[in-house]
Amino acid sequence: MPEVEAVKLASEEILQQGYSYINRSYQRVDALDKVTGKIKFFSDMKIEGMLFARVFRSSVAHANIVTLDTTEAERLQGVRAVLTYKDVPGLNAYGAIIPDAPVLGYGKVRFYGEPLALVAADDQETAEKALGLIKAVYEPLPAVHSMDESLKPEAPKLHDRGNIARHALILKGDVDRAFKDAHLTLERTYRTQSQKHMFLEPEAGIAYTDELGNLNILAGGQNPYRDKMQVARSLNISPEKVRVINYPAGGAFGGKDDVTVQIHLALLATKTKRPVKLVWNREESGIGGFHRHPSLITLKTAVNDDGRLLANDSHIYLDTGAYQSFGPTVLDVTIEVINGPYLIPNIRIDANLVYTNNGISSAFRGFGGPQGNFAIESMMDEMAEEMKMDPIDFRLKNLAKSGDIGPFGNSMRNMEGIHEALSRLRNSPLWQLGKELPPKPWIRRGTGVAIAIKGVGFGTIPDYPTAAVELLPQGKIKVLFSNPDYGQGVNTGNAQIVAEALDLPMNEIEVVNADTQYSPDTGSSSASRGTFTSGNALLVACNKMLDRLRMEAALYLESTRDGIEYASGRFLIKGNESKSVSIYDLAKGLRAKGETLKFEGTFEVPRYPEPVKGTLEVPHVVYMYGAMVSSIELNTLTGYLDVKNVDLMADIGNVINPLLATTQCEGGIVQGLGFATSEELVYNQDEKPMNTNYTTYIVPSIADIPKMYVEFIKTYEQYGPYGAKGMAEIPIVPVGASIANALKQASGVRYYQLPLTPGRVLSKLHDQGQG
């Protein structure tokens, strides 16, 4: 991997001399335009002659479609198109990994809210009215409400292949023998719920065909090139004819990683030859949008009399709902975190992705990590307690060290960071706080710890992100890559990376928002990979640019490549500072000769050559780590959990922008707080989601947010751009377990199921005589 080497050397060199633009807290490059409302979100945009679209969705969860009659809707004045599966010219299916979900349903319906028809009309109300005129007749089939039901032999089959979408069995050592020799073995079952992304801007976009006959799709998304491919595949047109613009999006969190509105918009815009806008309403986002996979995990874990982990036998079930979407790789991440960052000689992982009629589960920040983490970190806590060991000591004792061989034959790298993080937590004032007596007898305090591991990027899946820089003679550097900035700040971090690489001030760096017409394919903003992938690709591109300029400068300065040096936008003769030339002047000269200074760089993400059998991407080379302590106050009369403090010590590699990294961590903690305490999508008997708005689906409010403290352990990832790893997911991963562990300390009762709502907490307190 020659390019990786180049990056590494450049980075280490600069590390030694200190940075000018890295490790600095710049405000987000688009902050001002966002707060002043200058940036128009697609939901707010209007285009001359635009039609309004709505999606007709199934009102049953599992049924054969007998008839779907759209004639009356078509006849309604103002309706411009009504489309069904018959109008999908290409593949009538989508799905990021395996396209198994119909673009428009036919034959069978597998979840409540499955799209069956599309309407485009002159205005929103006509479109709405047309939906009411579409008649679907169903032959109901028994619905599968849960994984427990789905796994029964007599369960109705959702797909021809049965109800298990994917299965993996991974073995290391001999768990059964280890259990025989064990000092203590615990077996526990953990459950987590379906969590919604609840982005402020629901799934939305606009599509139109331009003068050149190209289809333009403007929609909040996370991977413009995959969207482009999926659109072209379903419309049966060349991807060349499709342009996707993903910026701006009002939040994504994984929920816009697979396609949502894009193919529907493309079909309608093509059919009507008019611009079309489609904005899901909040209820529709709740019903038709993606959510986090519910999990059911059983761990059987053993230690020796010295408190060393001997074996971990895990049975993992994730509810992928009606279709797979990102299910297979989400399952991979659960597989990857289920043994934590611990050294465990004997391991069995039996992992299953299960179909049910519960909507579609897909990507969500943490991507299977929070589910697995809740199980293993609850288990570690209970194990420590049973062994009468301090929970931090127990973890430190079992934590793998650099050079140890991990569960998948992988080499554990850079483990010093998490050792340091966990040791520091012990000295945290929070860790002492639990011991104070609260003034009111029904309030109980507790603190809980959890640590987390999460891979950066796609693991063993080949990943070659490309990005570009272009030098504009008028004094700007254009920065091009396709990981959309949907609020996480990748544009700002990458501007800093380019500023550092080219030693130019931030105001000369101009980031172009993700747009397939200009941005090279850098892949998705997902898997905490944005900075790592585009940052690295940009470094390659910057080096190419400097290399080309150096030759030109040598010519201009009548010297040689080795006789000149570069600093702050100028090349100068070594030892003779009076003779120099600016890169912008060089660019002018080259421009006059017809040469544009645009350079692409492609980075090969380091990986193991083969995935572990049964998985698509396990393991990773680069992992992020986090150690978290949470303190809570439990009201034993009402079961209400007040999370007071959350401290996070994270190893995310070198930190490009401490301010943005900290706010990302705080956002992740708050989203984790919702996962831990209040958020859960609930279905009724007909499998219809019941709580799809902010009144009934309980996202934490600003008044619920604990005092947060975030600290980054100083580490350096040799493969990262300027030593950075990734970071957006690590803060959410350990929140559930750290709060549940705090609750155990406070109440004496251990909870094996999230979220820890007052009702669930109180009922178990009463059962155990603690209420």
Partner: protein, 295 residues
Amino acid sequence: MKVSHYTVHSPRTISEALNILKDGAARPIAGGTDVMVQIKDDLVKETELLNLSYIMDLNYIRDDGDFIRVGALTTYSDLIRSRLVNEYSPVLVEAARTVGAVQIQNRGTLAGNVGNASPAGDGLPPLFATGAKVKLQSEASEREVDIGDYFLGVRKTVRQPNELITEVSVRKMKPGDYYFFKKIGLRSANAISLVSVAAVLVPAEVLTFKEARIAMGAVAPTVIRAKSAEAAILNCQLTDEKMKEVGRLASEEAHPITDIRATAEYRKQAIAGAVYEGLYEIVNGFRSPVNGSSV
């Protein structure tokens, strides 16, 4: 539905408003924090809206002997900021602070809370616990209804379609009275009460009480008084055992429902807990009594 589908009347005076309301076809809208949501959900069947926002004569808080008179446009934020209300009805202030969040407190009115007639309205238990009256005016008549007689069920009240709530009169608490308001919701702001409870305790001697009014929200179709719990408090020492018993009695009087937010069983347990908490805080010096002298 959208607001643009309604004919909106925006009178400047009460008499104009009563005139518009005379055939009962218009729906009054004050802060709109309930009505706007109901419009979106297609729950407002009237075709006309009577916008009260410009009737300046409805926005007041007045001292009137034993009562504080609160105009129908008075918001929670007005109540929270009012010296008079803080002094003589701190239980109402305590409740007002738990309504929605600041944005809602700035718009939402106490009269709107009464008009909406939800058993989970957080402004209502303090009105029951202090003994308030609701003034209803129509073109032809005017009457005052005791808060206890005002509600008939969920969103059902004695108000006739041609009547407007013009005022809510809050009976002043007396110096020395103890009180509490407790709300249990699923988050710290913008949460609908799973249960709520307001109490006013009138002392006989040090920490024994000769009068007690406890009103519970979200445990029945209307806010209800916990009469047997009230009776159990009177003229006795409030030991820990006793306070638990009072909580238990309150819970026995509650007949909540199970919905998406919580089970009936949880609500019964929570109300017992909330009552106990409030009493404990009074008995153990966490709460001070009304001190009406400084106005």
